[in-house]
């Protein structure tokens, strides 16, 4: 920031193509907490959003490293048992990797973006409940620490090879951490949704809300309908696990606990973290080419439809015979229909590009590249998801499940980077283009390899079961998965580096004497 620019001017400059004027950032006004007190006492949701973004990228890097180690375990180079010190440890890391990317990386990353961007887009000075937003961040972080520490201490979501002693206590702690993280995310979602519903500028109807804010409203509703089901699962498991011999749902020596929660990382629930991707894509492309859609209501319908198809609490198959649910018409219809909104989004993006300014600079801008890559990966994930539910292909319980997961996660991460570049002034500050483009390319390439390798592996798997998804597969494909995992880790490192350097620039600019 130059000497002539005030934080208010910066926010106003960030008023995006969606037309909303960004208000002054309350934390940067006189009397707001500064220094070390700021992260604990701030009333500024944008500040909370930055905390979410940076912390989730940091946790994402950790999760990606675990992913790379797990991929190494799939190759012939190292036996999985040796890599982590036993089958149970491998299973703990295998589950931690999946849960982390959903609850500790992509969801909080997008929530953080929303806390910073949504108030400006709807013309609110701040979010509806700023202290609840701060409580959401700290309870999420504490829950994440409890979850990770308990997994490392021998907890996790069940075991495959029996238990010896006090693992069930650590598992109870893992459940507590998981529940806390989910409640924190729900609190953040309520804050965002209430801001969109109640604090819109006078005269702005819900149909006028910019695509990203609309997508976050849809996301919040989807989370509010889906994530509480996981809390109910946790309540039942916890009640069984604590204090005495578990009788049914919380047997620590089996993978039962994981099997009651794995629906969170499988389709359709996994799409719940991809709904904002559509909003980011529309907003980023619109801003990049300086164009508005001729049919904004169609964008709202497309995003809403994808949200509807991402409702996933009903899809857990632990309590019924898997074939009863997953061969059922609803599950198949959801799987096939998820492709429609993604294709419609591609059409909408095409229309924006046709209507907008098509200079080389705009078409090759970072938001444009990010939006394109995120949409392609989400499209690939939705396509694999559609193939997965076609019964004759026999892909349901194969690594195709993780192909969908990896596609959605990579799309979410890339959309996050694109959003950091699109709303740089509202978020962290100008992010270095080389790092942003590097992150997008690496995440795109890594995510693409993971989607492709897991899909092919799904086609050639002989007798898939829970651990076969992790340990079995073709040697060459496992090598590809390892390369993909390393690329994703490198992409996250580049994104984190870009975020931290942007934050440092912002801090330097703010501390410059006027």
């Amino acid at each position: 920031m130059t000497l002539t620019e005030s934080p208010v001017a910066e926010s106003e400059a960030a008023a995006d193509a969606d037309g909303a004027a960004a208000p002054a950032s309350p934390a940067e006004t006189l009397g707001a907490p500064r220094g070390l007190a700021q992260p604990f006492m701030t009333n500024d949701a944008a500040q909370v959003g930055r905390l979410f973004v940076v912390t989730s990228l940091l946790l994402g890097l950790g999760a990606a490293v675990i992913g790379a180690l797990l991929s190494l375990g799939r190759t012939d180079a190292v036996a999985p048992d040796d890599l982590f010190g036993g089958l149970n440890s491998y299973f703990r890391m295998w589950t931690l990797y999946r849960v982390s990317f959903v609850l500790l990386v992509v969801m909080p990353l997008l929530l953080g973006l929303a806390l910073a961007v949504v108030p400006a887009q709807v013309g609110a000075g701040n979010v509806a409940f700023p202290r609840a937003a701060l409580a959401s961040f700290w309870s999420w972080l504490i829950g994440a620490v409890i979850m990770i520490a308990s997994v490392l201490a021998g907890g996790g979501w069940g075991a495959l090879d029996g238990v010896t002693g006090n693992e069930s206590d650590a598992m109870a702690l893992t459940l507590l951490g998981t529940g806390m993280v989910i409640v924190a995310l729900l609190l953040g979602a309520i804050v965002v949704a209430t801001t969109v519903i109640s604090l819109r500028q006078t005269g702005m109807s819900l149909l006028d809300v910019p695509p990203f804010s609309w997508s976050m409203l849809v996301t919040a509703v989807v989370w509010l309908f889906s994530l509480p089901v996981a809390i109910a699962n946790i309540v039942v498991i916890y009640a069984d696990l604590r204090g005495r011999q578990a009788v049914a749902f919380g047997r620590p020596e089996s993978p039962d606990i994981w099997l009651q929660l794995d629906w969170l990382v499988e389709q359709p629930a996994v799409y719940a973290m991809a709904v904002p991707v559509l909003g980011i894509v529309f907003s980023a492309v619109g801003k990049a080419v300086d164009a508005r859609s001729s049919r904004p209501e169609a964008i709202l319908i497309v995003v809403g439809l994808f949200g509807l198809l991402a409702m996933g609490g009903w899809s857990q198959d632990y309590f019924t015979a898997p074939q009863d649910l997953r061969d059922g018409l609803v599950y198949v219809a959801f799987g096939l229909a998820a492709v429609v909104p993604v294709v419609a989004t591609a059409g909408g993006v095409g229309e924006l590009v046709m209507r907008g300014s098509k200079t080389r600079d705009r078409l090759l801008s970072t938001p444009m590249l990010g939006a394109g890559a995120a949409l392609k990966l989400l499209g690939a994930a939705a396509l694999v998801g559609a193939l997965r539910v076609i019964e004759p292909l026999d892909l349901l319980e194969t690594s195709a499940t993780w192909s969908v997961f990896h596609g959605v996660v990579a799309a979410g991460l890339i959309a996050g980077v694109a959003a950091l570049a699109t709303w740089s002034q509202l978020l962290l500050g100008p992010i270095q283009q080389r790092l942003a483009v590097g992150a997008i390319v690496l995440l795109g390439a890594g995510g693409g390899l993971l989607v492709l390798a897991d899909l092919i592996s799904g086609f050639i798997a002989d007798d898939p079961d829970l651990m076969a998804l992790a340990l079995d597969g073709n040697a060459a494909l496992n090598g590809v998965v390892l390369i993909g995992s390393l690329l994703v880790a490198a992409g996250l490192a580049a994104a984190l580096l870009g975020a931290v350097s942007a934050l440092r620039q912002r801090a330097t600019a703010v501390s410059e004497p006027a």
Binding site: A128, A132, L186, T202, L224, A232, V236, R244, A248
Partner: protein, 194 residues
């Protein structure tokens, strides 16, 4: 003065607390609905296998019906509190909130009796475990609702009813109504259809 020079009208902020409470209430209801779904599914599975769910006569309908009646009455009293808060009528507000809290305490007391009466062991089997998971979750939610009402009562003691407090009472009432709905599910699923 030209129209364009007039200051912008103050934005109308429609009941933010109530909207937030509505969303939170929806999420809490989803938790409970999922718990009841698991309960029903497991009971159906047991029935399909010809297994007994609860021992005959172990779960009495009388106390459960009494709780349903108590909570039905509390719907009236909590709405009485909302109306009093809207009308800034402190005496009626206090009485209504106090009576509602008393009804809540009575239901918890009645549940304690039910637990003593049934004498289920939580590790007795799936039925007993789910019985405690469902009813325990309901009691936890009822306690949250009572805490919300207690806070609004204390706040109303500290000053006059105003727009903010009226919204807080309305938000608490929303959560309370959801609790009553949840108990209706418990009453029907756990106690009536057994």
């Amino acid at each position: 003065m030209r129209t364009t020079e007039l200051p912008a009208a103050e934005a109308i902020r429609p009941r933010t607390v109530v909207v937030g409470a509505l969303l939170a209430t929806g999420a809490a209801f989803m938790v409970f609905a999922a718990l009841v779904s698991v309960y029903v599914q497991q009971r159906q599975q047991a029935a399909a296998l010809g297994e007994e769910w609860f021992p005959s006569g172990a779960v009495e309908l009388g106390p459960a019906g009494m709780m349903m009646m108590t909570l039905a009455l509390s719907i009236v009293t909590v709405q009485w509190a909302v109306q009093a808060a809207r009308a800034e009528d402190r005496p009626h507000g206090f009485i209504a909130l106090g009576v509602t809290l008393m009804f809540g305490a009575a239901v918890i007391n009645q549940f304690w009796f039910v637990y003593q009466d049934t004498a289920f062991a939580i590790d007795g089997g799936r039925a007993e475990l789910l019985f405690y998971a469902v009813t325990g979750s309901f009691i936890a939610m009822l306690m949250v609702a009572m805490a919300m009402l207690t806070v609004t009562t204390i706040r109303s003691l500290l000053g006059p009813f105003g727009r903010d407090l009226a919204h807080a009472v309305q938000a608490s009432a929303l959560f309370w109504h959801m609790c009553v709905l949840c108990y209706f599910l418990v009453w029907y699923v756990v106690f009536i259809t057994k």
